[in-house]
């Protein structure tokens, strides 16, 4: 057993004492593209919703796209 870890203070998300670090979630965080997160944070709330609706419109267009013969 790693005694150093046993005695270490519990870790918290973003320094918030109400949100203890969950190792499973930490594993998922490694795959989050932080550049996209920072890009999103630069948008206004309305712009975020407009982007969401645009994305949904695009997804619908892709779903409805017919296959054409070459």
């Amino acid at each position: 057993m790693d005694l150093q870890n046993v005695n270490a203070p519990p870790a918290f998300v973003a320094g918030d004492p109400d949100l203890p670090v969950d190792p499973v979630i930490e594993a998922y965080k490694k795959d989050i593209d932080r550049s996209l997160v920072r890009q999103s944070l630069r948008l206004s709330v309305t712009e975020r919703f407009e982007e969401l609706m645009e994305l949904e419109r695009f997804a619908e267009a892709l779903r409805d796209a017919p296959t054409v013969l070459e």
């Binding site: 998300v13 320094g15 109400d18 949100l19 979630i25 975020r48 609706m53």
Partner: protein
């Protein structure tokens, strides 16, 4: 497609007391994940239920995923007898929640909300920290990636209300 602008306009202009939760609240806080419905926790007072029945009733609400033709009537009795409703409407998919796992009802969530200006209307959204806690409490494996993104948002944004 869910018309978030029209749904939020409808709720605000009808004077409905509600809190945006779920994926739409995550979007408000900066999440890039696609969500296809608007989840709101509504206040279960007789007046608010009346407003909800009238406003949503104008947009052909029906139980999402249910076979067509069921005798479903959207009115105050239906809302009073039920609690959480997953609806499809002419404006898109709408989840009306009387309470959420790990978060409770409207009154429980209210202290953990912040006002966001969305499409020019002020909407009450669950704050980022509480949203994470609620999603953690729900314990759904499908949420793990979403929670990870929300926590990264919290880390990148720092403490205090988001923009």
């Amino acid at each position: 497609m869910t018309d978030f602008k029209a749904l939020l306009d409808l709720f605000v202009s009808s004077g409905i007391e509600f809190i945006v939760v779920g994926g739409a609240a995550a979007t408000a806080h900066g999440s890039s994940r696609l969500t296809r419905d608007l989840d709101v926790v509504y206040r279960r007072t007789p007046e608010n239920i009346q407003r909800l029945a009238e406003a949503v009733g104008r947009h052909q609400p029906y139980l999402r995923g249910a076979p067509p033709g069921l005798p479903f009537h959207w009115d105050t009795d239906t809302i009073r007898r039920g609690l959480n409703f997953t609806l499809e409407t002419a404006l898109g998919n709408l989840d009306l929640l009387g309470e959420v796992t790990g978060g409770g009802n409207y009154e429980n969530l209210l202290p953990h909300t912040e006002l966001k200006l969305i499409f020019g209307v002020k909407c009450r959204c669950l704050n980022l920290k509480r949203l994470i806690e609620v999603k953690r409490a729900a314990g759904r494996p499908k949420d793990l990636e979403a929670i990870a993104e929300l926590e990264v948002l919290l880390e990148e944004r720092g403490p205090g209300p988001s923009g």
